[in-house]
């Protein structure tokens, strides 16, 4: 599992940041990739599998991080990918994994890719996952382009293996989905260490009961103090880039920045001296202090939350920062110019384009038609079908996060007056149901509202929104090969629900009649409307044909 064998110094390629992470993972000798699809992270794992890497979608991000932990604890190198909100799902294990640390017999490493979405191009929030690095005590690297995405992926594995900690690689939409030039191997740090598979028993370090966790927390903080010292003496992770100006001008303006913001800053302020932070947790505070003292005006420019500004000021270093208005949305060259000019005048609203909508032949149309007609209160979920909230249906009333539609629906039923409660319907997609709908269904059975509840599972046989990925309900692996299938109607029946399965697209009247009837009954009902996604149907037929052909 050495890295040098696959390094190629002559190749120059134009690749996305996601492709670069994949190449970095390959060149870091990754044993197994795990994850759950989520824009803008999805292509990383797909590319890794396409290059021959071992990779699989998990039912959700928490399971993905658990599997990755097992891989690392067995001495392997694990890559775990998800979008920023996926880290919320995975957070439970993350916060204690750092206490335990990662150590197999001869190594073991884990890199968690968090793909943040400033500006919310396709997400429900723009949370800044640098906060997770601090809260869960996870070292964090932030690449600015594809070259850095490649290099830092390799560095992340090196750091993980050296310090026996998971490392987060924080990507953002513009790094994930921008194509820039990459020369694999040219600038990369070597990935040291032989990677020996094997389990090492160490109960006090790996079983986090309170008696073990108390010293583990102290060990973790000690490790981070040591890492911070190492970071201070590793300037390639916080380089200073001089400006174009002459010596005198260069010391006037200094900018501290990281990630994609760096390229905007470099373009907006060619004369400024820049401290570019490649590692944003821990922070090289001595280097930051020295930099701030070397310039007349020091400005922190960061996308999203004022994370760097707060940390730097808390260390007693005087820096200027963006005003609150630039916390919202992405940064770009124009906004960086405004920040530097201390311009707080209102920004022109970007012109509105055409919003997305359900495909004309989407199998979900009749479902939303019936929900609208029956004047339901719809507690919805995350997926293409969230577009049911827009014109022409406007038939979704609440949507917050993956799987929430069921529990929120139950809460509404418990609380609303009966005439409204009996109109509440939860709507969830097939992949989302597998992701985090099962516990919501258990809640429906366990704490049934007096009016009962109706859950509609929209089963289009794929994770449509993110680009048609497989999930446990399709019975196919990430590579579209046959595997075990979780049959959702069997699961729902076994859990105690009344279950109907039909195709609302083919039989819209029957669906409407069934929904009307179920709403009148005080029972726990699940209606599965099953028809393949119009965009995926051809491919699904091909996968099925291939499977039966080889059987």
């Amino acid at each position: 599992m050495t890295v040098s064998s696959v390094m190629d110094t002559s190749r120059r390629m134009l690749v996305s940041g996601n492709e670069a992470v994949t190449l970095g993972a390959r060149d870091a000798g990754v044993t197994r990739g795990t994850g759950y699809p989520g824009t803008p992270s999805t292509e990383i794992l797909e590319n890794f599998a396409a290059m021959g890497g071992q990779a699989a979608w998990s039912p959700n991000e928490k399971v993905a991080l658990e599997v990755a932990t097992g891989v690392a604890m067995a001495g392997g190198r694990a890559l775990c990918t998800m979008k920023h909100v996926g880290v919320n799902v995975a957070a439970d294990i993350l916060f204690t994994l750092t206490y335990a640390g990662i150590k197999g017999k001869g190594g073991g490493a884990l890199v968690l890719v968090s793909a943040d979405d400033p500006g919310m191009h396709s997400s429900q929030n723009e949370q800044d996952n640098r906060r997770y690095a601090v809260a869960a005590v996870v070292p964090m690297l932030e690449p600015a382009d594809s070259q850095e995405a490649y290099d830092m992926t390799r560095q992340a594995f090196m750091i993980s293996e050296r310090w026996h900690l998971p490392v987060m690689l924080r990507m953002t939409t513009r790094v994930c989905h921008s194509k820039t030039i990459l020369q694999p191997g040219v600038h990369a740090l070597a990935c040291h260490g032989t990677n020996q598979i094997g389990f090492e028993r160490n109960i006090p370090q790996k079983v986090m009961i309170p008696a073990h966790a108390r010293p583990a927390h102290r060990r973790l903080r000690q490790k981070m103090a040591e890492m911070q010292q190492w970071l201070e003496s590793t300037p390639e992770l916080h380089p200073i880039i001089e400006g174009n100006g002459d010596g005198e001008g260069a010391s006037e303006l200094g900018i501290i920045t990281s990630g994609i913001s760096y390229v905007h800053v470099r373009e907006a302020a060619p004369d400024a001296k820049i401290l570019k932070l490649g590692m944003t947790y821990p922070l090289p505070m001595q280097a930051i202090r020295a930099f701030a003292e070397s310039v007349k005006r020091c400005v922190v420019i960061e996308e999203g939350d004022p994370y760097l500004k707060d940390a730097i000021r808390a260390a007693g270093i005087a820096v200027e920062s963006k005003s609150e208005m630039y916390r919202f949305g992405e940064l770009n060259v124009g906004r960086v110019r405004r920040i530097l000019a201390r311009d707080e005048s209102p920004e022109a609203a970007p012109p509105r384009g055409k919003p997305p909508q359900l495909c004309p032949q989407c199998p979900y149309h009749p479902v939303f038609a019936a929900l609208k007609k029956l004047e339901c209160i719809v507690s919805g979920d995350i997926g293409c079908y969230t577009l049911g909230a827009l014109q022409p249906w406007e038939a979704m009333d609440i949507q917050l996060c993956m799987g929430a539609g069921i529990g929120v629906g139950v809460g509404l039923r418990h609380t609303l007056p009966e005439d409204q409660a009996k109109c509440v319907v939860s709507v969830i997609g097939d992949s989302t149901f597998m992701h985090s709908g099962l516990t919501g269904l258990a809640e429906m059975i366990y704490n049934p509202p007096p009016t009962g509840h109706v859950l509609i599972i929209l089963d289009n046989g794929t994770t449509a929104m993110t680009g048609q990925q497989e999930h446990p309900g399709t019975g196919r692996t990430l590579n579209h090969e046959p595997t075990g299938r979780v049959v959702m109607e069997d699961v729902a029946r076994a859990m105690g629900a009344n279950v109907d399965v039909l195709d609302a697209y083919k039989e819209p009247e029957k669906f409407e009649e069934l929904l009307r009837r179920r709403l009148e009954q005080r029972e726990i009902s699940v209606i599965i409307s099953r028809r393949p996604c119009i965009l995926a149907a051809g491919k699904i037929r091909e996968y099925e044909r291939r499977a039966t052909g080889t059987a």
Partner: protein
């Protein structure tokens, strides 16, 4: 140095080949040895919504996103998407839009994106062979002929127009 960067914004609706067209532009610039960056947004735009992509090339490119109002060229595949993208053009920049193409002359209207690239190609310094080889590299073989035809149609229209100032 940055003023030598050429900025191209391509726009349209999901499913019109906007991203593919931007990949072709980026590929041509990449093959000529220039620095190239390309920014695009996936996700919700796949569901028929507005799509726009930025391609920047030159000796050294910094931000992958074309700064607002600095596009040298704005290529729009869908007429309804001109107004919401016009602000991307710099003063004197060139709008390339479907009104320049007689779509009846296209064997398949889905090649409109490539026909517009043909128009664009007439205003950039890359040889036509570079464009042809990028088309071959990025499009399926069975679609090559109709796309080459569309490209040539657009290029001839572009050559006969006044060059961009």
């Amino acid at each position: 140095m940055t003023n030598q960067v050429v900025n191209v914004v391509l726009a349209g609706l999901g499913g019109q080949g906007v991203v593919k067209a931007s990949d072709i532009v980026a590929e041509v610039a990449f093959r000529s040895g220039l620095d190239v960056k390309k920014a695009e947004i996936h996700g919700m735009s796949q569901r028929g919504g507005s799509v726009s992509t930025d391609v920047r090339f030159g000796p050294h490119v910094l931000s992958p996103m074309v700064p607002t109002g600095q596009a040298d060229f704005l290529v729009v595949v869908e007429p309804t998407q001109i107004d919401n993208n016009r602000g991307q053009l710099k003063p004197g920049g060139m709008l390339i839009d479907p009104s320049m193409i007689d779509t009846k002359k296209l064997r398949n209207t889905k090649t409109l994106n490539v026909a517009l690239l043909g128009v664009l190609s007439a205003h950039l310094d890359f040889p036509p062979e570079s464009w042809k080889s990028a088309l071959s590299a990025l499009l399926p073989e069975h679609l090559r002929d109709i796309n080459e035809e569309a490209f040539d149609l657009g290029r001839n229209i572009g050559i006969n127009k006044e060059p961009c100032p």
